[in-house]
Amino acid sequence: MTGRLALALLLLPAFTVPGAAFAAEDEVLERVVVRNRLFDLGGRLELTPSLGFMLVTRLTDHYTLSGDAAFNVLNTLAVEARASVAYSRQTGLARRIAQQFLQRDPVLGIERADDLSDGWEMRGSVLGGLRWAPIYGKISLLAEMPVHFQAFLSAGAGAGSFHRQSLVYCRQLVSRDDGTCGDWLTEDKVSGIASGALGIRFFTSQQGSLRFEVRDYVFPDSYLVNIDRVVAEAGGATGEPGRAGLTHLVMLDVGYAFTF
């Protein structure tokens, strides 16, 4: 009896190993497509031109042209530098608010006013940071066309150039009835800026990928409060810096990354 048991134990691997090997082969078929990366980025340089636009506009609107240079230290980690120039402007809503406010005679009401927050327009920025891409996957767009993708988070900081035109501080009234001003108070500044992004890239070849990202630019806001409109319209200096928070510019960025 003991001899049979020993024989059975000896023969058991002979029956189980082929089965296990077969299962392992199925396992390979099931998983290898994702676990073996078709597109390796580690140790490679990439350059990405991109265009961006705002998802929700309030007082300002921005369109950005950006260039991103990144070195992929690992498949999942990259050091990146980013430079952007922006075409920015006040929205129609902002211009309408300013016009309607100016039509109100300060002598008849709202003699002192605070400027509105989030009125700064970004003209350009330079950022440096890190990109972390822990997710690599593949999706089947058509039966014979699997597309490999990578999702990433990006964070960085740098400096930006900004411009602001007040909505309540008019230094030269042209027409009260029409609400037109000949010289709105404008300001320019260079200040620190931080940025975070959540994105996804779809690989088109070993040399390129299409990138989509939602990017938030954050920078300190500032504006004047307690503005004496009568003094302002007479060309005098008035107002004091108010307590302002942070301005967020949330943009959708679309670009193509060239990998070398």
């Binding site: 078929l29 994702v34 309030r58 608010i97 109100r104 509105l116 997710i135």
Partner: protein
């Protein structure tokens, strides 16, 4: 006569047989093997060729994967099947993503019946437990005495919409090359009904805001997102949905502009003490049954003042009727159970 026919038939058959036999007899003479022809011998396959043949016949998951003469298109088995299943989804947090003049936070649930693997029917009720004007709109009111048009600042209390859900794309991803997850791209579309309201007086000095009911509106919905499968029965969902509704403000609490004007006239005549009476307004106006005058009279215990103070603000909303098409884009993050 019969014998004549049989004889003729027999003669014809014999002649055909001779014609058919003639080539066979002549064949060896037509292609003789030359005497100096090279001699060939049948060769036994080598062990390597035998192994290759055996390998070519081998089936992997039922497919001749190693057969060079067969093109095998591997369609990977979907790890989890949805067809015929039901799915209950809870979205605990549904924040509005595009709030300009309004801001909504809500909770939604969804019941999906997957008719087929990639197609299902869904119904989604949603309740916004916070719906008020945005901080941007409040800033406009505070600093420049302006605000968004009534129709643009309409708030969505709740909504129910039903429609279809399509999952055309299927994929998988690895997190740090170690954890494998299956996901689907989810597209939804539907139509339904939503209840709307409008801010009448904002919260101030510790008093809560007051709102006026602006009626039920038709809702349309489109959306898209991802569903990440967790085992056989659970999934995580992240979607963005756009609730589209036409907003026209011409009634507040069911009362039209002319009915609100009557109420305003009464309001102007009464003293503060008289306004606190429960029927201060309704006893002096003649309005239609749809107009809920009780919403504009009596003491509001939370604000500790008469509800009649809302009449002027309500009238200002409907005196110049405004209309807009609102897009309430929200992020739906939730989890689901399949059964």
């Amino acid at each position: 006569m019969r014998w004549v026919l049989l004889a003729a038939l027999a003669a014809l058959t014999e002649a055909e047989g001779n014609e058919a036999a003639a080539p066979e007899a002549a064949a060896p003479e037509a292609s003789p093997i030359p005497e100096d022809a090279e001699v060939v011998a049948l060769r036994e396959p080598t062990p390597e060729e035998l192994a290759a043949q055996e390998r070519a016949q081998r089936l992997v998951s039922g497919a001749p994967l190693y057969n060079p003469n067969v093109a095998v298109h591997i369609v990977q088995r979907k790890a989890f099947a949805d067809g015929g299943k039901r799915e209950v989804v809870l979205y605990p947090a549904v924040p509005q993503a595009n709030g300009k003049f309004t801001q909504h936070f809500g909770t939604a649930a969804s019941l999906v019946y997957h008719l087929h693997e990639n197609f299902g029917l869904q119904v989604t009720p949603q309740y916004n437990w916070y719906s008020s004007d945005s901080s941007f709109n409040q800033e406009l009111v505070d600093k420049v005495r302006q605000e968004g048009l009534a129709a643009s600042t309409l708030l969505l209390n709740w909504g129910v919409q039903g429609g279809v859900e399509v999952t055309p794309l299927y994929g998988k991803f690895a997190f740090f090359d170690s954890t494998l997850a299956q996901f689907q791209v989810v597209l939804t579309g539907g139509a339904g009904l939503g209840s709307t309201r409008h801010l009448l007086r904002p919260a101030a000095q510790g008093k809560p805001a007051s709102f006026g009911d602006t009626g039920n509106k038709f809702l349309g919905s489109v959306g898209g997102g991802f569903r990440v499968q967790l085992g056989d029965r659970f999934a995580l969902r992240l979607e963005v949905r756009d609730l589209v509704y036409t907003a026209r403000v011409d009634h507040v609490n069911g009362c039209s502009a002319s009915e609100l004007r009557q109420m305003r006239d009464v309001f102007d005549r009464l003293t503060r003490e008289q306004l606190d009476a429960p029927d201060a307004i309704s006893s002096q106006v003649a309005v239609g049954s749809a107009c809920r005058v009780e919403r504009f009279e009596g003491l509001d215990s939370e604000r500790n003042e008469s509800r009649a103070y809302d009449i002027r603000q309500a009238l200002s909303l409907v005196e110049e009727p405004s209309s807009d098409v609102l897009n309430n884009v929200s992020v739906y993050a939730g989890f689901s159970v399949l059964f």
